[in-house]
């Protein structure tokens, strides 16, 4: 496999790209809030793919 085949060199991944990781975490948090907001809108609340049905809730809000 590649890992065994070729040597793994050291590279300061976190030290050079920490702003991009911070940006990624921030967008993940923002999109998470956007998703939960849109999920509970009246258009998608009764959609069968809603994760709340998987957790056992049965009532059609």
């Amino acid at each position: 496999m590649k890992f065994l085949g070729s040597k793994v060199y050291r590279y300061p991944v976190f030290k050079t790209y920490w702003p991009f990781f911070v940006g990624a975490v921030a967008t993940y948090y923002l999109i998470g809030k956007a998703q939960s907001a849109m999920e509970n809108s009246e258009q998608y609340i009764n959609d069968p793919r809603h994760p709340r049905f998987r957790r056992g809730e049965k009532d059609q809000k």
Binding site: K2, K7, V8, V13, Y17, Y28, G32, A34, Q35, Y44
Partner: protein, 48 residues
Amino acid sequence: MPQLIPFFFLNQLFYGFLTLFILLILVSKIILPYILKLNIVRSIIVKF
């Protein structure tokens, strides 16, 4: 638009960023150094 269905927002982001992170680690630690070493060896061999 099936892209704007809210149930898969986080799912797309999670797997997308996960793949990009794995690729970043792979490229920066294994692939680019290998090509760099190849170029160095080639430049040394040409001098002989």
